[in-house]
């Protein structure tokens, strides 16, 4: 294995903890596209019709800024794990809030567009091609629906490991499981997701 080199993210975290506001801003900007994608995929019931992804992501970042002094850097992936846990908490609160308020459906505004969808897909793919843009809306809807169908825990695991790219070791530590269990559960979740998507794409048998 090559020796571990401190990543750009590690450097930014260290500078942020040392009180450099520009570094902290850089760190959040860096993570923003993935965070937005994570939020969108994590809570399809909440975002879109009720809340803007951008607002939720900004609100998460604000909370990170306020509580930075509580964060302890434990190596690669820890900052991201903290960021997404904060986002999870935020989403839970928003859902509770919406439920309590019983918001009028008429006040709900459509937030999503093909362009946003393309942006969110690009957020975790790292690629933004014209064809991806054109098909983004359809693909994202398909992915969101199928993620929704495989259940809460598998979905959360996929999002943390493959969208937020938090190392298995960190997920295992946080969830008090062994790394092998995380790995096994993640691969089962991915296989289930692939099966859901594949079954949707299969043409109906001719009647």
């Amino acid at each position: 294995m090559p020796p571990h080199r401190p990543t750009q993210e590690d450097l930014l975290i260290e500078r942020s903890l040392a009180g450099d506001p520009a570094a902290l801003q850089g760190l959040l900007v860096r993570n923003l596209p993935t965070l937005e994608t994570y939020i969108r995929l994590r809570s399809p019931d909440l975002v879109g019709p009720r809340e803007s992804v951008t607002d939720l992501a900004q609100s998460t970042c604000r909370e990170i800024l306020e509580n930075l002094d509580r964060f302890q850097h434990g190596g690669e992936g820890h900052f991201r794990a903290w960021l997404y846990e904060t986002a999870d908490r935020k989403l839970k609160n928003r859902r509770r809030h919406n439920h309590a308020q019983r918001r009028d459906v008429k006040r709900v505004r459509p937030m999503d567009s093909a362009h946003d969808a393309a942006r969110h897909l690009a957020g975790f793919r790292g690629v933004h091609t014209p064809s991806a843009h054109a098909e983004a809306r359809e693909e994202l809807d398909e992915l969101v629906d199928c993620l929704d169908e495989i259940g809460e825990e598998p979905r959360r695991l996929i999002l943390l490991a493959r969208i937020a790219k938090i190392p298995h070791r960190v997920i295992a530590e946080r969830q008090k499981m062994s790394e092998a269990t995380v790995r096994q559960a993640l691969h089962r979740a991915l296989a289930a997701l692939a099966e859901r998507i594949a079954s949707r794409r299969r043409p109906e048998p001719p009647s």
Partner: protein, 951 residues
């Protein structure tokens, strides 16, 4: 797949993800090698890969190098920082993105990039120093360039103070230290440093273009600046190498949209050096203004954003000339652009290409329609121009119209214009420009053409006939029927006059043949098929006469046209039901194409068309032997990127394949023909993008959308509706006079019928409305032409769809009437073409549907009278008597059938039909099998009848 299969596949997928994380794609390949579920598992892995859910494993292992970390990830590849263990130098290694699973296409593309870059030697182009293959696919190593991309500099430039060298400051801001302050790049002011970067890249491009390589993805992130002030061009991943295969021939536009020229955005295939020139101009534009130019279509005048503050010192002129929307107006070579940018660096004035006078004047005419009036008036005179013996109506005096020229002047002007028309002065001339040019040629000659035939000067007659031929062809493609007819009439007379005067050289004959072909196509599209056949025959005759008189170099083209014309002639024969003539002409066309090795694709295509006719006419065995030959060849050529198929041939192949699946009635036709039909839509769309005024292309695209919509209607009604509505919109955009065209009307009725099918599951009452419109459009068309079996059978099909919609809308009584009408139409079609299996089988569908409907309405009397009607109609057709016997028998044995007069009638009907069928004798093994079943049935029926009698 059973549930246990699904679980097993999921287990396999989970295991493969594990393997992929540890060992990459190679490990998965090895594990799956003999597994019977490997296809499903690969499909699932591909889904995860497409969604970015297969995690990148550790750095790939490459012998001789130690890879440390990933520098960047692109659409298909990733670049790793590495140490060369032999020399200890720092290198960059490009591999296929490890999360893109097992894509042979990407492997091929990366291999191509290695080969392409290896051929280019230029200090600005980062060379390949080593290459090889590991388990993930090919890789190559380049010297590591320490520097920043222009994209990175653009991010920091706004924050840099406007000092002596903003670029040097930006590099430092981006974290690149140890700058060589004496480097030329850092000693220039900002505008000239941008020009210096542009000149360096343009020089590299000139080398690449000379080697036949287009970069196709010039943008700020692919241009690097080193601390020594050197410029480097990277990433030939999308480059097209003319020496290699055109592997992206059917791809959607590749490259970065903001820098692409309009032709590349539109997905055009024949890109040239000017595409890279545009992208470089757009990059320089962004360096100067902070943003790339506004996207333009080819008709726009400038790509600059309003209010853009382009740089002084001539750089603005160079950028503007590089990003002109029409490629013919840009720098024609990278070397030209480099020279001008070097002039800017040296503080000299650039010399950008001037827009040719003809284009500027045409632009002026477009902007000031009054100027065009003279030409329009002259044209009006020409359209009524009649040679000797013609022109019964008074004509406006020609001398009052348009400018007057001497014969020499007219000839000089006409020749100049026709040179532009033919060669476009090295660039492509648009359809509208060609129309204007040819109209203008006729204007110059107007005074000399208004004479009796024998008095028209030879030069005027020759030039004018060519212009008329071109006008006829162009107007036909634009769909301006009035002008097409006039140009055809005058053109045909002019060529006849030329032949009468003994001007029988090869070129004249070939031109005459082409004009006759246009006349034939025009008649065919108005369904004047006899007329069309006459013109196709003339055309083929003139092509044949021209061949021995033409130079050998023109034989290939001539043979292609002749074989194509014969194919069209065969098709016209088929349409009027002359099947044997049609097949004979097809054979002539095929042997014609076979005799020329350059026409292999055409020969295959002609065989495919012949096969479809044989299949549609029920000659399955003959069709099967042809199918073996041409379907395999077509599939192979379509898949082979080096087959050199033109777009037209590709479309032709795809259509034959889709129709073959449709006609052979395979159960899997839904999934099989879909990709072919979708590809046809894609290619047809490109035709229209390239020539927006090409109305024939509009109709063919509408038809392609309709076919694809019909295919989707069964499993994706919403998708189908969308395609079909697009198709209707295209038809609505056509000029009014197009409504006369039979093609347009039949396409419209098809689209409406397909819409009805698509809506059947979604909204039956809307479906009924659409089918009603389809039927009335088709009836109108049928009434305007001599009766044809195909149209009548099609009407029967439309009526059946309408009946289905009515049944689903709970209107069964109306549905009965409609199906009776459908049966009537089908019987009329049958009377015209008794050999068509399609008509017979559609008629059976109508009967089955109607009998089921009568059963639902509890109306056995009508069922019996319907059977009697059909029995009488098919009295002399043993095939039909067999299945009518079965239908009678079904009624006779039906438990609901009361044991009364009806039972007796149906039993008698059964016996009658069986006897008729058996008396017709044995024709084929199928008849033997059917007859033995009938004999059994006969005994049973006779026995039953006996019992009935006794009772």
């Amino acid at each position: 797949m059973t549930q246990s299969d699904t679980n097993y596949v999921q287990d396999l997928v989970a295991h493969c993800i594990d393997l992929f994380d540890c060992e990459g794609a190679g490990g998965v390949d090895e594990f799956l090698a003999d597994n019977p579920h490997r296809l499903e598992v690969r499909e699932h892995l591909a889904i995860l890969s497409d969604n970015g859910l297969l995690s990148p494993p550790a750095p790939p292992s490459i012998q001789g190098y130690e890879l440390s970390y990933r520098i960047g990830v692109g659409g298909m590849g990733e670049v790793w920082a590495a140490n060369d263990l032999r020399t200890g130098t720092s290198v960059a290694i490009k591999t296929i993105r490890c999360d893109l699973f097992n894509s042979p296409r990407l492997i091929k593309r990366l291999q191509r990039e290695v080969e392409t870059v290896a051929r280019l030697q230029h200090e600005v182009i980062v060379p390949v120093i080593d290459s090889g293959e590991n388990v993930l696919g090919p890789w190559f190593a380049m010297p590591r360039v320490l520097g920043a991309s222009l994209e990175c500099l653009l991010n920091v430039l706004p924050g840099v103070s406007q000092g002596a060298s903003p670029l040097a400051l930006a590099l430092e801001q981006a974290g690149i230290g140890d700058l060589d302050q004496d480097a030329k790049l850092f000693s220039l002011d900002y505008a000239r440093s941008v020009a210096y970067i542009g000149a360096s890249v343009a020089d590299a491009l000139a080398t690449a273009h000379a080697a036949g390589v287009l970069h196709r993805d010039i943008k700020p992130s692919n241009i690097l600046i080193t601390p020594k002030g050197e410029v480097r061009l990277i990433d030939f991943g999308l480059a097209r190498d003319e020496l290699q295969s055109r592997m992206t021939a059917t791809d959607s536009p590749m490259g970065s949209l903001a820098y692409m020229p309009p032709e590349q955005r539109a997905g055009m295939q024949d890109l040239d050096a000017t595409a890279d020139i545009h992208a470089l101009g757009a990059t320089l534009h962004e360096l100067v203004t902070g943003k790339p130019p506004r996207p333009q279509d080819e008709r726009g005048t400038s790509g600059s954003n309003p209010g853009d503050d382009l740089a002084p010192g001539g750089l603005n002129i160079v950028i503007e000339a590089s990003i002109r929307p029409q490629r013919k107006h840009r720098y024609s070579s990278a070397a030209q652009l480099r020279d001008d940018l070097e002039r800017v660096v040296a503080k000299n004035s650039p010399r950008p290409p001037r827009i040719p006078l003809i284009h500027r004047s045409m632009e002026a005419v477009r902007r000031h329609p009054a100027l065009a009036l003279g030409i329009a008036l002259a044209l009006g005179a020409l359209l009524t121009w009649g040679l000797r013996g013609k022109a019964p109506q008074p004509r406006p005096p020609v001398q009052n119209l348009g400018p007057k020229f001497s014969m020499e002047e007219a000839a000089k002007l006409a020749r100049r214009l026709s040179a532009i028309d033919r060669r476009g002065l090295g660039k492509k001339v648009t359809l509208e420009e060609r129309l204007e040019i040819n109209r203008a040629i006729l204007t110059f000659y107007a005074p000399f053409l208004d004479r009796a035939d024998k008095d028209i000067p030879k030069v005027a007659l020759a030039d004018a006939s060519v212009a008329m031929k071109t006008l006829a062809q162009l107007n036909y493609t634009c769909g301006s029927l009035g002008e097409t007819d006039q140009a055809l009439e005058n053109g045909l007379r002019a060529y006849k006059e030329r032949l009468r005067r003994g001007d029988e050289i090869g070129q004249t004959l070939a031109e005459f043949a082409a004009l006759e072909r246009t006349a034939a196509l025009r008649s065919a599209s108005l369904k004047q098929l006899d007329e069309s056949i006459k013109h196709f025959r003339n055309s083929a005759g003139y092509f044949r006469r021209a061949r021995p008189k033409l130079d050998r170099s023109k034989h290939n083209l001539l043979d292609r046209r002749l074989a194509g014309t014969l194919g069209e002639l065969a098709n016209a024969h088929r349409l009027i039901g002359q099947v044997e003539e049609s097949l004979a002409v097809w054979d002539t066309a095929i042997s014609m194409a076979d005799s020329n090795p350059k026409l292999q694709a055409l020969a295959i295509s002609l065989r495919g068309r012949k096969m479809l006719v044989l299949r549609a006419k029920g000659r399955a065995r003959e069709a099967a032997s042809l199918q073996e030959l041409c379907v395999t060849a077509m599939k192979r050529m379509l898949e082979d990127p080096e087959s050199g198929l033109s777009r037209k041939q590709r479309i032709d192949f795809l259509q034959v394949l889709a129709q073959d699946i449709h006609l052979s009635g395979q159960n899997r036709s839904v999934s099989d023909s879909g990709p072919y039909l979708a590809e046809v839509v894609k290619l047809r769309r490109l035709d229209l993008v390239e020539q927006p005024k090409h109305n024939v292309a509009r109709v063919t695209l509408a038809l392609a959308l309709s076919n694809y919509g019909a295919h989707l209607a069964r499993h994706d009604p919403e998708g189908a509706t969308e395609q079909l509505q697009q198709s209707l919109r295209l038809l609505d955009e056509l000029p009014k006079e197009h409504d006369k065209l039979a093609d347009v009307e039949s396409t419209r009725s098809l689209v409406l019928n397909n819409l009805s099918i698509a809506q059947l599951r979604l909204d039956p009452s809307r479906a009924a409305k659409y089918s009603e419109q389809a039927i009335s459009a088709l009836k109108e068309l049928i009434e305007s032409q001599p009766a044809q079996a195909e149209s009548l059978s099609m009407l029967g099909g439309f009526l059946q769809n309408h009946a289905n919609a009515l049944m689903d809308s709970n209107r069964p009584r109306e549905a009965v009437e409609v199906i009776l009408e459908a049966i009537d139409a089908q019987e009329r079609a049958f009377a015209l073409n008794k050999r068509s299996l399609r008509i017979r089988s559609t008629l059976r569908v109508h009967l089955d549907e109607l009998i089921a409907l009568y059963a639902a309405l509890n109306d056995p009397v009508s069922t019996v009278s319907l059977l009697k009607r059909v029995e009488t109609f098919f009295e002399n057709e043993p095939e039909e008597q067999r299945w009518i016997a079965e239908l009678y028998w079904k009624q006779a044995r039906s438990p609901e059938q009361p044991r009364d007069a009806h039972a007796k009638v149906t039993l008698e009907g059964t016996l009658r039909c069986i006897r008729r069928a058996l008396n017709a004798g044995v024709e084929s093994p199928i008849s033997i099998a059917a007859n033995s079943r009938l004999s059994g049935l006969l005994l049973e029926a006779q026995y039953l009848e006996l019992i009935e009698r006794k009772e």
